[in-house]
Each structure stands twice: as structure tokens, then as C-alpha cells.
């Protein structure tokens, strides 16, 4: 993943109350209010889209489709969840549809998915510990995760969406979502702590 630029969320992300008035106005057909909503939330939406697709161009397409669906579905938004959470769910759904259409899941069947390539395991462990911090290893591990596993772990562990919402947006059962989460976390841990994974592998 090569993001165009990374900034801190502090002071950048709109709070729910900031957006409520805009959402109400946009639901009444105020197009300027909807435009302002896009302006205030698009970086957040793009961040999630990029994390799910792992590709800048794909992320832009997902963002466009997300706002189109949001625009069309705004009248159905009941305000039960925060507007941003509602947008995350649409983004997750669009990314899932997008990746499926693109055939990115061809070799990503849950039952058949193999272990991720663990290049780090071959590397000198000491060197790895000195050179890379935990965060860069996490980025690397996320990049190597199959999209289906990445989607679940990002939505759950970064965006804190409940299992039910994740399952609904990805079109899978809640138990499948939980299985994928476990597999994803296991792979992330194995990649981030290769020395332990190696010991475990030898013990089996």
C-alpha cells in the first residue's frame, strides 16, 4: 500500500453532532449539505476503502460508489448508528462487491486458502527486530492477508464494527465472520512475531 499521505485523525475527523444537521438537511434534498458531508467524510471513507482494497485506484472507485449509494439511500438512514458508521458499512459492502467483481477472490476461498508467504521468517530475526517496528510489520502483514480475511479484521479490530454488521455487509454468516477473524489474527501474529511462529511450527 502506498498511501498518498498519512495524517493523524486528531481534529480532522468530524464528530457525529457536527454531521447530524448536515445529514438532516441532505435528507431534505439540500444538495449543498450533501456536498459538505462528502467534503467532511471523504478522507475517512477513503482510508477505509484503501485498507480494504490495498490499491489507491480501487479505493477511489469504491469511494465514488459508496457516496452514490449513500446519496440514494440517505432517505433510509434512520440515525440508529452514527452517520460515519453507516458510511463504513456501505464502504465495506462496496469494497466487497468491487473485489468480487474484479475476481480478486479467485484464490481466496476460505476452505482452501493457504498460509501467507512468510518472507520475514527467513530473515534474520535480530535484524528484523532492530530494523522494523511493530507497526511496519503490521502493515506488511495486512498487505499479505487475503482480501476476505483483511476485510473482517480491519472492520472488527480497527473500526470496531460488530460481527453482525460485518457479516451483513460482506454477505457471510456471523460464524463465518468469526472464523475469518480468528484466521486473520492468527496470520497477523505469525507474521509479526515470526520467531514464535517458527517455534510453533517446529513443535507441531
Amino acid at each position: 500500500m502506498t498511501p498518498s499521505g498519512q495524517t493523524s485523525r486528531e481534529g480532522r475527523s468530524p464528530s457525529g453532532t457536527d454531521l447530524d444537521a448536515l445529514v438532516d438537511a441532505a435528507r431534505e434534498g439540500d444538495s449543498a449539505a450533501f456536498e459538505e458531508l462528502v467534503r467532511r467524510t471523504h478522507v475517512d471513507t477513503y482510508t477505509l476503502a484503501l485498507r480494504l482494497t490495498n490499491n489507491e485506484e480501487d479505493a477511489r472507485d469504491v469511494v465514488q460508489e459508496t457516496y452514490l449509494r449513500a446519496y440514494r439511500g440517505l432517505k433510509n438512514y434512520r440515525g440508529d448508528a452514527q452517520f460515519t458508521t453507516w458510511l463504513y458499512r456501505i464502504t465495506a459492502n462496496c469494497a466487497s462487491t468491487f473485489l468480487t467483481t474484479r475476481g480478486r477472490h479467485r484464490h481466496d476461498d476460505l476452505a482452501a486458502s493457504g498460509d501467507i508467504a512468510d518472507g520475514a521468517a527467513d530473515a534474520d530475526v535480530e535484524q528484523l527486530a532492530q530494523a522494523g517496528d511493530l507497526r511496519s510489520r503490521l502493515d506488511e502483514a495486512l498487505e499479505q492477508l487475503p482480501p476476505r480475511l483483511r476485510a473482517v479484521v480491519v472492520l472488527r479490530d480497527v473500526y470496531d464494527l460488530p460481527h453482525e454488521a460485518i457479516a451483513a455487509e460482506l454477505g457471510i454468516s456471523v460464524s463465518a465472520a468469526k472464523v475469518r477473524l480468528h484466521r486473520a489474527r492468527h496470520k497477523l501474529r505469525a507474521h509479526m512475531f515470526p520467531e514464535t511462529a517458527e517455534v510453533e511450527a517446529r513443535a507441531v
Binding site: 498519512q6 485523525r9 478522507v43 477513503y46 485498507r51 489474527r185
Partner: protein, 121 residues
């Protein structure tokens, strides 16, 4: 109790969504390997949560692209609606013309039958 019997639950122990039954808890308390795994999962989860505070900036022009996409889609919908309205009008006209033709044919047939009856009488 073996470590691999517990392995699938350790990430949930780390995120606090699962409390192990007493026998499993006792194993973890005595097992350095399981404890190390839980610690590693906690580190993974902490790093994941930290990502929540980061924003990845898109290249400039995204808002304009989004709005243009919505507008385009709106236009496409409008065009489709016009076409389908035209189709409805066309089919309606065709149905009306067919009905008028059929009515005319019936009328002509009825008149010619009446004429034949008069001639016969």
C-alpha cells in the same frame, strides 16, 4: 490440556470477549507459551486500534470526482426514465391503434352481415 486445544480462543481472550473456563484458565496460568501468545495478540490488537487514529490522504480532486459520479449516475437514471416513458407511450399508442383497428374491423363485419341479411330477406 494441550496448548493447541486452546489456540483458537487466545485472540478472544486477548480482546476480552471470552473468559476461559477454570480448567483452561489454570493451563494458561502455568503455560508460558499460551501466555506469550496472548501477549502477542494484545500487541497486534493495540497496533490495529492505533490505526483508527490515522487518516490516509487521497490525491486531490476526490470530492469533485465523487460529485461528478453522482451527477452522471443521476443523468443516466433520468435518461433511462425518459426512454422508459417513451416506451410506455409507444406501447400505449400501439395498443390504442390495435384496439381501434379491431373495433373498426368488428364494425365493418357487423355492417356487412346486416347488409347480407337485408338482401336475403
Amino acid at each position: 490440556m494441550r496448548c493447541d486445544e486452546l489456540a483458537h480462543r487466545l485472540s478472544e481472550v486477548a480482546d476480552g470477549t471470552v473468559t476461559l473456563p477454570r480448567s483452561q484458565r489454570r493451563h494458561v496460568e502455568q503455560c508460558l507459551r499460551c501466555q506469550a501468545e496472548i501477549v502477542q495478540y494484545r500487541k497486534v490488537l493495540r497496533a490495529m486500534r492505533a490505526m483508527r487514529t490515522e487518516l490516509l490522504e487521497p490525491a486531490p480532486g476526490m470530492v469533485a470526482d465523487v460529485l461528478a459520479h453522482i451527477e452522471e449516475a443521476g443523468e443516466r437514471t433520468a435518461i433511462r426514465s425518459i426512454i422508459s416513458n417513451h416506451k410506455v407511450a409507444y406501447l400505449g399508442g400501439l395498443a390504442a391503434a390495435t384496439a381501434a383497428g379491431a373495433a373498426g374491423a368488428i364494425l365493418v363485419a357487423a355492417r356487412s352481415r346486416r347488409g347480407r341479411v337485408r338482401l336475403a330477406s
